[in-house]
């Protein structure tokens, strides 16, 4: 076998071109978290991806899949990257069986064009549409979910079939196009959250739902924490300290009441931009009689702040609180308030947003927060969250910050994750180093 880097680009480029797939030389804009690939390939179907992967296997090329490229920089830089497989041209709806409420698509299809296609038949994939340009494959690979996760679950809950291409060029599928199916292992689940480290997702099938008749948001601004008037968080606010009366935001109680409400909200979100102010809680009800149900939710929230009903979402709905530094926090649902307090009490200008009901929250800090302040924040918050039964992951941060911390914290299943990676990608050529524990 050729040692690729010594033989130079020409024979290699030739081999890539012979696949018949459109190949171009990579430019500076193609860098993956600072690592520049040599080529970019634009396959149009699963077979072309497989052909590329076989050539990559023969020539020991490291490969990174890219969807919309909206969050390609999330995660550590790959140990190496020769070929970018850009899924932009894998953008077809393969089958929309509207009578079966099922859709099968190529993984490079953007979530917004998928939504558009489905809406024409009055249907939707009950996931929130992410940033413009984000693809089906990217949503699966990053496993990021929006507000409606509370009622509908995340991408893995609606995914019913998947086709993937492995590092050695093997094409494999699991599941199918029926909503109920327990034949064989569920590779779709495995590839959820894989950040391109197991293979390339080329096709996916999802269960759909009818678009709800109507939607209403109920938005409440909660008072700032601390003594009324001072507007300050107590610096020593212990996360597990019981909430004092008058010590806003009574978030745990409110979250529990909302989650248990017979108005059946689809989402219960919180946005807390600044510890000096109070959090905003926004609730979505969808479906029949949305108005009546929204009023029930408003009455429930009235005790906690001024609540109003709107026909559209607040501006921040379904977006992450920041760009450069993003942490994800998970705790058991009843501890969401405790987690928020733990974060806001750390004295850094943190902005938190996310699902209050599932207690999956994203936190952003200013990029110039400083390495030691960042490291201290991560470690202290992780300790607090650990006591609450949760944890923290660094989704993205400038290299100089990320280098100071363990991005993922302790993950009990890491040895198993490693073994899965070793089996799927023994040559470490799929986005090596980009996921948990550097797998």
């Amino acid at each position: 076998m050729d040692a690729p880097h010594e033989t130079g680009g020409a024979p290699l480029a030739g081999a890539l071109h012979r696949t018949g797939v459109t190949i171009r030389e990579a430019g500076p804009d193609d860098a993956v978290a600072g690592v520049s690939p040599r080529w970019v390939a634009l396959p149009e179907n699963t077979g072309e991806v497989a052909a590329l992967m076989r050539v990559s296997a023969e020539h020991d090329l490291a490969v990174t899949p890219v969807g919309g490229g909206t969050r390609l920089h999330w995660g550590p830089p790959p140990e190496r990257c020769d070929l970018l497989i850009d899924t932009c041209c894998l953008n077809q709806v393969l089958e929309h069986a509207s009578g079966d409420l099922v859709v099968r698509v190529q993984a490079g299809l953007t979530m917004d064009s998928l939504a558009e296609t489905l809406a024409a038949e009055g249907q939707e994939l009950s996931l929130d549409v992410p940033l413009d340009g984000a693809t089906v494959g990217g949503v699966l690979a990053t496993a990021v979910a929006g507000p409606r996760r509370f009622r509908h679950g995340t991408a893995r809950d609606l995914l019913i079939g998947v086709t993937v291409v492995l590092a050695d060029g093997t094409t494999a599928k699991s599941g199918g196009k029926v909503v109920k199916n327990v034949a064989g292992y569920d590779l779709g689940k495995l590839f959820t959250g894989s950040y391109g480290t197991l293979g390339v997702i080329t096709e996916a099938a999802f269960r759909l739902h009818p678009i709800p008749d109507d939607r209403r948001w109920i938005i409440a601004e909660l008072p700032a924490p601390g003594t009324p008037g001072t507007g300050a968080v107590r610096g020593d606010g212990r996360p597990d300290a019981p909430e004092r009366p008058g010590s806003p935001p009574g978030l745990d109680v409110l979250a529990a009441e909302l989650a248990a409400s017979q108005a059946e909200p689809s989402a219960i979100e919180v946005d807390w931009p600044d510890a000096r102010g109070g959090p905003v809680v926004a609730v979505l009800v969808e479906g029949t009689a949305a108005d009546a149900r929204a009023r029930a939710v408003r009455d429930l929230m009235a005790g906690h702040g001024t609540a109003r009903i709107t026909a559209g979402p607040p501006g921040w709905w379904g977006t992450l609180p920041g760009e450069d530094v993003l942490l994800e926090v998970r705790v058991p649902p009843s501890r969401a308030g405790g987690a928020l307090r733990a974060i806001m009490a750390r004295g850094l200008p943190a902005h938190v947003r996310g699902s209050l009901a599932t207690a999956a929250l994203q936190v952003t800090l200013p990029p110039d927060v400083g390495g030691s302040a960042f490291a201290e924040f991560v470690s202290r918050v992780r300790d607090d969250l650990g006591r609450l039964g949760g944890g923290l992951t660094v989704l993205t941060a400038p290299q100089e910050l990320a280098d100071r911390v363990d991005r993922w914290g302790p993950v009990g299943a890491l040895p198993l994750l490693r073994r899965v990676k070793e089996r799927f990608d023994p040559g470490r050529r799929m986005s090596p180093g980009r996921s948990v524990g550097g797998i």
């Binding site: 569920d186 894989s194 994750l417 899965v420």
Partner: protein, 485 residues
Amino acid sequence: MGTKTPDGLVRRLLESLDHRAVITDPVRLRTYECDGLTHHRATPGVVVLPETAEQIAAVVRVCNEYGVPFVARGAGTGLSGGALPRTDGVLIVTSRMRRILSVDVADRRAVVEPGVTNLAITEAVRDLGYYYAPDPSSQQVCTIGGNVAENSGGAHCLKYGFTVNHVLALEIVTPDGDIVELSNTDPGYDLLGAFVGSEGTLGIATKITVRLTRAPETVTTLLAAFDGIEQGGQAVSAIIGGGIVPAAIEMMDALAIEAAEAAVACAYPEGAGAVLIVELDGPVPEVTHQFDEVTRICRENGAFELRVAADPAERAAIWKGRKSAFAAVGRISPAYIVQDGVVPRTALPEVLASIDRLSREYGIRVANVFHAGDGNLHPLVLFDDAEAGAGERAELVSGKILDLCVEHGGSITGEHGVGVDKSRYMPKMFSDNDLDTMQLVRCAFDPRGLSNPGKVFPTPRLCGEVPGVRKGVHPLVESGQAEQF
């Protein structure tokens, strides 16, 4: 002791288990020789009844020491032979692990041991206004560990999803005897999701954290009687097409109704060629609206009688016939095969017509009971085991029904699993590459192939102890076993 297990194995097991927890008496061993798929039988080498995860881990480590396979067993209600023991192995039964460890309504979750029955969870939280949503018909006896292994469903899974959507975390004993937590909040590959539905081949679940679901504000159950399956099917299409996702939508054909009538006197409307059970739940205004729609649709599609349950007792009466359907066919047939296949819902009329043709062609009666909303068929293939050749013909019809499912883009199993029963059908749905790739997961978890071997996959993959750095072509291609195109 079991004749086929190695000398010394039992002694080693007794180091971590009480002697009452290790069964070697041949008579007692035989009570474990099959699950709900009774025509596959094997007497286990040894049966153990552990009480803790540590004991299971110890047993699994002993199995590793001797290179002996092990099989987990819950209540043994599985219908695909998943818990079929190995004569040369250890059967690990979870019947002594029946504690509900915690119930936390504020977090909407409960933590339970694997031997807890499905229904016991709901019973423990019902008074708090919650329940555990997946509801297999066997819920009074089947265990949550078995549910996890099979990714079990039930009538209400149309709206609420399957076991995999309701399990938040697992403690497992890996096939090499480590105790590991898998959680849905862990970053990285969704191993929790991959474990659920793996039929005991990736290890043993020893602690299960399940999601509790808020009991709906209101529930309405309605029974609609039609002249035939066709009209019932059209009603189902119109309901789903109209944007309604009922909690459950179940259908039975004339033969299934006859059986249920004979068994439990469910008093379904006389002369019905098909009955449809539709259950709606949720906020009152939503259910009221949907109820009007559903009744209108049923009438428009020819329902000649509609019954609405006014209270829980009447609801139970409506469900009684459906829930007893499997056992009930015993009243109208000496023997039967319970089949489980899935088709895209819109293909139901065509597939049912084909099943009818098969039935007439082979002279084998088929009673149809199904989860109509998601196209999950449970044809009950009836035969007389005293009649020469009838069993074979029934098997043939049963297999051809699966062919129909696959031809229509469906699945060979919607909820009963592959087990030993259907591993030979896996190649109809999946290519060698698909199956080999799935087995990479198996090799990652269980490189020695000790955890429930011989299930799910038609041909086991040799894992190789340490995966080497592989370059170039896939070894299976090289050896001519697989094609990569």
